[in-house]
């Protein structure tokens, strides 16, 4: 990974990423490349330009201001290869149709921003969730941030894909965490490599280690039609979890809304399943795991943050 640690969003009043009223910090950068990634703006650990074509009023202020000579067609869709994400067009755009995704992960300032909502966390049994991207990329600054939050009694939850180096994580971040939501996608190593870019050896190893630590650990399986929701995969994951003595697992039914987020980043979609999962399909998956004696928890289907316009997310500009 290059450059300073980045975040891509701070969502306040989040009700879907852990118990109670929470703030969710979305870290930018991820070691996996899952083809269905719900937060594609969190994949690359660099500042990127994002364009919301719907908000564009067609004034061409961006073209006029661009110091790199990126021409019109690129601006209409996405800046393309010549774009240096310098932000000149963001400033020029009257409609806020452009924004730079990626702000410094500054533990002190983030602690102050996150602690503003402390009374809401405390009174609702909520707290702060680190999500992404992959938060474990930055164990030191996040550990520092988590410590500042824990010092004020704030519950800190980590959502992770499990792909991380154990030592720095265990040293800096793990001791500061109240709970971990650990995503398990595919049991088969080859399939994992194919759909997520890496195999799952390190993920499995980390999960086993965390099983033996004191932290509250909840495995979650994202249900991706045709990829992770197959009988073979669920059986294999279920068997493995039961063998580890795990009692509880959560299911995250597929949410197709992420597809809309690829275009603004200029990323072509490889996987493009556009429908919500039918209720019976989710129920069948749950039953399959429950048959092994696991307690299965359903997650809301629309629990993923969107990038534009829902308003629950504070713009990064308010942090800078």
């Amino acid at each position: 990974m290059t450059g300073a640690p980045l975040i891509f969003a701070l969502e306040r009043n989040a009700l879907d990423d852990g118990p109670g009223i929470r703030s969710v910090l979305f870290v930018k950068g991820c070691p996996l490349r899952c083809v269905w990634c719900q937060n594609p703006e969190g994949l690359r650990a660099v500042v990127e330009l994002q364009l919301n074509a719907e908000a564009c009023v067609g004034c061409d202020a961006c073209v006029a201001r661009c110091p790199h000579g990126v021409g019109r067609p690129a601006h209409e869709q996405h800046a393309g290869a010549r774009c240096r994400a310098c932000g000149a067009c963001v400033d020029a755009c009257p409609a806020a149709a452009r924004r730079l995704v990626g702000a410094p992960l500054d533990p002190e300032r983030l602690a102050a921003a996150l602690l503003e909502d402390e009374p809401f966390y405390r009174r609702s049994g909520g707290g702060v969730t680190f999500s992404g991207g992959e938060p474990t990329l930055y164990p030191r600054p996040l550990g520092q941030l988590a410590a500042a939050l824990r010092a004020r009694g704030v519950h800190v939850l980590l959502e992770t894909c499990g792909q991380f180096a154990w030592e720095p994580f265990a040293e800096h971040l793990l001791p500061q965490l109240s709970a971990i939501y650990f995503d398990l996608k595919l049991a088969d190593a080859d399939a994992h490599r194919r759909y997520c870019g890496v195999d799952n050896a390190q993920i499995r190893a980390n999960f086993v280690r965390l099983r033996h630590s004191a932290v509250e650990l909840l495995p979650r399986i994202p249900l991706v039609p045709g990829i992770t929701d197959t009988a073979a995969n669920l059986d294999a994951l279920g068997e493995w979890l039961v063998a580890l003595g795990v009692e509880r697992v959560a299911l995250l039914p597929y949410n197709p809304l992420w597809l809309a987020k690829r275009v603004p980043l200029g990323q072509p979609a490889v996987y493009s399943h556009g429908a919500w999962m039918p209720e019976q399909a989710v129920a069948a998956c749950a039953a399959r795991l429950a048959a092994r004696g696991l307690r299965v928890q359903r997650w809301a289907a629309d629990a993923t943050p969107s990038t534009f316009g829902t308003g629950q997310k504070s713009a990064l500009s308010s942090l800078s």
């Binding site: 009043n13 009700l15 909502d117 009174r123 504070s314 308010s318």
Partner: protein
Amino acid sequence: MSSLAAAHRYLVDRVTPVVITTKLRAMAAMLNHRPSLRHHLRDVHPIAGAHAFRATIAFVTEDGRDRAHAVFAGGTMRVSSGGAAEPDLTVRFRDREAMRGFFAGQDTFAMLLDNALTFEGNLSCLLKFGHMSAAVTLGGKKVAPAQPWQRGPARPEELPVPPAGEPCAEPPVGEVVHLDDPHLAAYTLADFPRLRRLLWAARTTQPSICTERALLVTEHALLHRRDGDPATPPVLRQAEAIHHVLCHKRAIIHDDDLLAGTVTAERIGIPIFPELGGTGIWPELLTVEARELNPYRISERQIEDLDRRVFPFWINENVREWTKAHAADRTALELDERFVLYFMWKTQATTHTVVDVPRALSRGLVDIQAEARRREAESADPGRRAFYRALWLALEGVLVYAAHLADEAERQLREGRFTGEEGEARRATLTEMARICRKVPARPAETLHEALQAIWILFVAQHNENMGAGLVLGRLDAWLDPYLQRELAAAGDPVAKRRGIERAIELCGALMLKATDHLPMVPDVGNRLFGGSSENQVITLGGVTPEGKTAVCDLTWILLKATEMLRLKDPNVNARYAPGVNSAAYLRRLCEVNALTRATPSLHNDAAIVPALTAQGFSLAHARDWTATGCVEPTSCGRHFGHTNCMMLNLVAPLEMALHDGVHPVLGRQVGPRTGGPENFADYASFWRAYQAQLGCVIDRSVEANNLLGRAHQVLKPSPLFSALFDGPMEKGKDVIEGGARYNTSGTAMIGLTDVVDSLAAIRRLVFEQRRWTLPVLVAALEADFVGHEALAAELRHKAPKFGQGDALTQEIAAEVQAFVQARFAAQEHYRGGTYLPGYWSMSNHVAFGLLSGALPSGRPRGKPFTPGLTPAASAQAALTSQLRAVARLDGARMPNNIAFNVKVVPGGGDSQRAVVDRMAAYAGAYFELGGMQMQFNVVSSATLREAMAHPEEHRDLLVRISGYNAYFVELNRDIQAELIARMEHQLGAAA
């Protein structure tokens, strides 16, 4: 312009002048010669004798090109083209189209509100003209409604029983004595068949105009004008008036009533106050039964009574006209009549206050009368002697009315047939009622039933002295709990105790239902201005006692239960929460009732309100003894005459004036000081000074108008009954309207703060800091309503911070505006020696004022509603926690007349009731911890509201909170419905 439009314009221009004179002449011919219409011009009254309508009314277009006038004198109407010398009334039309619309029968008030029509002179003349015009057009016949009145099920047993909440997990120590489950979750409406029947009657009865009070008060006034001593002090004259009304008012006890007495002679009556704004219904007399929103039943006889026996005698004698006639400078009053800058309530009422109920209950009126007698005897000053005599006489009227109620109960006992178990029960109830009405309010109340009956009789009496506009029921839990405690402590066994508790629920419910037996008279334009509002008779629960201890008690929970079961829009239930004193369980129960009813109670923070009051000079004990008034405004109970809704002021208008050198675009003339055109401002500071100058001017004018109206009330309408029931007037020897109460204030409502803050922030950030465009360019875009300026509009909406997002700039600007408002009001002279207290809530005037405002630098387009109360704009799209923090950070000391902060929340389909309530309590608790003053949840989705718009008949009881008051959604006009739907919706939890 299309050729069709051009042809239309040509026709209008050519034809209109002819049409006006022709129309007026046709009208004159009818009125002069048609026997059935002649009484409009000349009439006979049993007391006043023969009289004729005398007025000269001039009609003119704004450009002065078309003029005509009508002279009414000696029983005839004469019409001439051209202008008139010294008309009583000049009606000015914006253009010829408006002139045509007026004569084609468009609603006069609606045209006034839209500024299609303005007037100078006597408004009642205009209203009478409107009625005559309608009478001529309709042949004097009232218009029948298109559809018969039909609301709710045909029988009480079919009224739906709403679900109860959950039992209380852990009853809070110190806030419950006799209730095993303070939530009383075992009970529903089905357990109280009598309440169900009364509720059914309240829900399904069409409100009727009631002329009883109007006729009596007119009769008294005419007798006084004919036979009375002109030197009679106003307060004594008014005491005679209320005595006359109460002595002759019908004593009514309905079937199923537990409490005797009614505000009017109708089941749900609209009393008319001709000395105040009553003539407002004059032009609508023939059509009010057929109007779309909130139609009133009215009989031919009632129309005739109001038109011939009431209104003609108040054309010049009502508060509005008297004030104008006696003002050296009418400007401030004329601005009020344009509806753009401010709206003054004193033309309608001075209520929005609360009498000293505990004193009346514990002493009884006879004892208070005795004190008045003693003070009269001891006083040498004739004015004071008259004042004390007035207090005695007003109370005597109440006692006569109570005696008449006892007589009526006894008559029903004599004449009724009581068979079977139910009959026996009714006989027992009537017997008890007769006993109680012989005892209270004359002597001290000793039981809960006696106390409630006394409160109701006093309430009825107050409603007959002053127009019910925010009369307060008060801190019923704190006041009544001692009676309940005595009764429950005396209950021998658990069964008797349980019966006592059930009886208390029923009695409290009966009082709340009693308060639905009348509605304020609302001209059709009021459906637009204050859509769906009832009187707003506040019940305030919880908080602390004057000593600072928790005031939550058994009766608090009982009243919450009644609120939950009945789901009434009025009484307007408000709950106080004192962090650290009141329990978390109590806050949670408030949220549960709010979730179940969708809209009530609203929540107030004692930790913010009490210091705001002590900062205004209230003692700590008196500040702690506050009740909400009207919508949200705090009033110290029984000692504080605070007309808390004296005006509603448009904060946005001065911004438009600052952008136009003191000219308001809608008014089209110089209203404020000349602060320079938009090209003259070099920096934000100079523009901010211009806004302050314009706002200061509007505040000064509004106060001038209020003081003029207040002085008119001192001459026309002192309130001896209020004065007898208040703490202060007896000692000071002065009526409440003269400053007799211990504390004197006037409360104001500042409307559109968020719109102003967002606009100023955009100007500061984008125009003066970033220099994106100049102020003249911005003003040009505003004048074009952003058409052709889309990029600029987008920038305003997206590139400037908005209040509620948590940035420092909008927070700073909000604080500056509030500090200026507070200081400007604090510097004002007050007609009864009090102070002006600013508040930030809007009823539904944020919609009405919004209609009259142009596009704003906040990015809001022309004509759209402002933000309700003090609420971040939906377009700011700020997270709920950020919004709550932003509002909580405002300084309560600058908002002593409180705020209304609307929060629309939507439970996810998958949430349990418990999770929803827990979350609401978390938001409210954290907001209060951060210093927030008031908040009100609407627990409803926009989808439900849209569904109710499409199928109103299925959503008759859908309760919503507007800005400080509740309404049934289907009774609102479409603008307000749309505003509610557009409010930002916060998900309370995950979807299913």
